[in-house]
């Protein structure tokens, strides 16, 4: 007996199907089959993760995936997902796993913020006719000026990252995503004048050539961390937490620790790569300072150090502590941030929205007079150029994107990364699947996406009468809330629409 009816059904239009069996060959989840007797295709709905690989590949558009109309008795308290989760756990006795970000129906504050535009009293600016600047620098700013003997200004700025547009690809480890996916990100970053982040799996030796556009990550497992690695990138990021799973570590199953992944991570083939929940050399803020300076020593004080944390309740005080710890950049990951695998309960219930975290961190750093001590980078579901504009107006220096980048190269958000059978060649290490991702096309699509967003950012800036994105940073008067209560408006530091 099977308690769980599949969520999705594969709908095949038999009048269109030419029985080419492409769907069957393409599906790594074995959701399609061919019946020799009837000479017809059949579907196994329970295997389908709704990744749209078959839908996209079907030459006659014979396939679509539909939500099942099989239903339980309606109940506002015991919703379908809750009932099914109980069935699953009653069967398996295990922790439920999910991938990508929090998909529950929490408020999305980006969608409740509106952007301003100029009318009459000051002119809007046409980015096709006037320069419109999106270049930013990330890093600590000098606290005082210094002059040489001839009176000229000395460049006393600590190391900085220079971005052509304030977007970076955030951490996704080699292991959690494929070699080819990393290649797409690395090449696109170089082309776009931005940075991608290695995640915690080390840096494949083939990609050292993109070091000038690479942020190397040091996480609690310290996989693949060595001197050359630290010095290969443009900046070093200490991963303290991740928005998708604040407070817990990571687990790359042994099955994914194959070939170059084992070599890059510097662990034996087939061994589980377990990142502890905390860094075991960091039990407090003073310990963090020691790691920050260890990494600065190791890189000769030439590279900014980023500290990445998950957006949790006390995020403003934590970020303030990080700003005083010597870190150059603080990265905050909201509760909608993606992951290759996380316990579902944590994914859906821990952490806070990035918009609120960002607003409170930016304000706290200003209240303490230390906003200059760190740049603030935010991620955790930045979905579009307007989200970026809103994030920067709330106070961010730049944003991290990952889910959007994966969608650009083919991810269909089936949220099954943890199964390792990604039909799009992204979140898998199976060579036959990885081959499906064409690095040339993936690279180009990432370049296209960020280029398109850059155009849109310029249009919005021009509309506001701003010609450099620096003048938008923290410019909260350019935002108004819609449908937000007093507390939300106060935390976001914006007025309501109409005020």
């Amino acid at each position: 007996m099977r308690f769980i009816y599949p969520d999705y059904e594969i709908s095949r239009n038999l009048s269109r199907c030419i029985v080419c069996r492409a769907c069957e060959r393409q599906c790594s989840n074995d959701a399609h089959g061919y019946d020799e007797d009837t000479e017809k295709m059949f579907a196994i709905d329970e295997n389908c993760v709704n990744c749209h690989r078959c839908v996209s590949i079907c030459p006659t558009r014979a396939l679509k995936i539909v939500k099942t109309d099989n239903t339980f008795r309606e109940n506002n308290n015991w919703k379908v997902d809750i009932i099914k989760d109980i069935y699953r756990q009653a069967e398996s006795g295990g922790v439920l796993l999910s991938s990508m970000g929090n998909s529950k129906d929490y408020p999305i504050y980006f969608d409740k913020l509106l952007i301003n535009a100029s009318q009459v009293t000051n002119p809007s600016i046409d980015p096709l006719r006037e320069p419109m600047e999106t270049r930013v620098f990330l890093g600590k700013k000098p606290q005082a000026i210094e002059r040489g003997p001839d009176g000229s200004l000395l460049d006393n700025a600590p190391p900085q990252l220079e971005l052509d547009v304030p977007v970076m690809f955030s951490a996704m480890s080699y292991g959690s995503i494929s070699y080819t996916a990393h290649e797409c990100l690395a090449r696109a970053s170089q082309k776009l004048g931005i940075y991608y982040n290695t995640g915690e799996g080390g840096l494949h030796e083939d990609f050292y050539q993109y070091g000038a556009n690479t942020i190397v990550q040091v996480a609690s497992g310290r996989f693949g961390v060595h001197t050359n690695y630290l010095n290969a990138g443009a900046a070093v990021e200490i991963k303290m937490g991740q928005g998708a799973k604040p407070g817990i570590g990571g687990h790359l199953p042994g099955a994914k620790t194959v070939g170059d992944i084992s070599r890059t991570r510097m662990i034996p083939i087939g061994s589980d790569a377990i990142s502890p929940a905390p860094h075991h050399d960091i039990y407090s803020i003073e310990d963090l300072r020691q790691l920050v300076y260890s990494l600065k020593e190791a890189t000769d004080y030439k590279k900014p150090v980023i500290v990445k944390i998950a957006a949790v309740h006390n995020v403003a005080a934590i970020a303030s502590g990080i700003a005083r710890s010597g870190a150059d950049i603080v990265a905050i990951d909201g509760f909608r941030g993606g992951t290759g695998a996380a316990p579902s309960r944590i994914l859906n219930n821990v952490g806070i929205p990035i918009e609120l975290a960002l607003a409170s961190v930016d304000q706290r750093l200003r209240d303490e007079g230390i906003r200059n001590e760190v740049s603030v980078v935010v991620g955790g579901s930045v979905r579009s150029s307007s989200d970026i504009v809103k994030a920067i107006a709330l106070g961010a220096d730049a944003v991290y994107i990952a889910t959007s980048a994966l969608i650009a190269i083919g991810c269909h958000l089936c949220r099954s990364c943890h199964q390792g059978r990604c039909n799009w060649g992204i979140a898998t290490q199976r060579p036959d699947l990885v081959r499906r991702l064409n690095p040339e096309i993936g690279f180009q699509r990432l370049v296209n996406l960020i280029t398109a967003w850059k155009h849109e950012i310029k249009e919005m800036l021009g509309g506001m009468g701003i010609n450099s994105i620096e003048a938008l940073r923290g410019n909260r008067l350019m935002l108004r809330g819609i449908g937000l209560n007093e507390n939300e408006l106060r935390i976001l530091g914006v007025k309501h629409a109409g005020e």
């Binding site: 320069p131 200004l153 701003i466």
Partner: protein, 370 residues
Amino acid sequence: MRGAIKKELREGNVRIPSGCAISGIFSKIGKRFNGNDIIKSIATMHDRSNGLGGGFAAYGIYPEYRELFALHIFYDDFRAKENAEAFIKEWFDIEDMSEIATRKTPLITDEPIIWRYFVKPAAARMKESGLDEMDYAARHIIHVNSEIQGAYVFSSGKNMGAFKAVGFPEDVGDFYKLEEYEGHCWIAHGRYPTNTPGWWGGAHPFAMLNCAVVHNGEISSYDANRRYIEMFGYKCDLLTDTEVITYIIDYLHRKLGLSLEETAAVMAAPFWSEIDRMPEEKKRKFTYLRNAFSSLLVTGPFSILVGFENGMMALGDRLKLRSMVVAEKGDLFYAASEECAIRVIEPDIEGVWAPGAGEAVIVMSNGGNV
């Protein structure tokens, strides 16, 4: 009650976009002249104001008290005056004080109580504070403005003074009897706010210690600039562009020690496309300034005139979205929103020119340093 205006409509409670006229005259040899010329100049641009604000700042007008801070204060009532004076006496030694002489005119109404004080920091207090004279004065002036209800210090420099009111600038000049003051540097402002602030403190110039600014425009970077500069002890109470611009100049120039030219390179920075083409050394400098002080970049339309004890700076935004022309004749330097405002006082002047976008025109007294 004098100066009655609904509190919620005052500057500081709402942000009011304004258009404007500005004008300035500066003698490079420090020759003093009375306020008639500057009134004539700003009056010519009558249509650029709408009667809701006008004002002047003059340098060199109090030579007998050149070492003292001259505080010009608006009071809503005598209680505010008592409170403010008690505070001032606590922190400063008052050498002289009097009501500022004004001329009754039907065109200027609802005037507050307007007093002038010549003060110096109380020596022991200042020593205790560990601050220098300027920082000490600034801190306590900011305190009066933000904490003492109904009192507003609208001018606080040495040997200089601001004079402003709700009205057309020429009527404001008449009201304050500016023909009786002699200065070597004058700047003036006529205001065109989009709604009725009606509060005298909201008129321009905005003056902070020795720096007075008149501004025409509406900057789009306002809140980015405000939230940044407030980290350094400034409080933007008025929510006006001029206020935040004055604080930016005070911070960069006086506190950090950037030159005026460097200050202008932060506020109206060259575009990256231009910086990238500069020779290496220059490129390094401009990149440094833009990066280090990126939150003090001012965008959107503005043209400003900044008065100092020994000079004047004219600066326009990086796209030249507001008009401004400058000219020189003999030892005199002129700047104004429109050429007519210069020609009306110097008809034969030659070589009137419009500074480029983001170009700072800085004139100093002979031998003076920027």
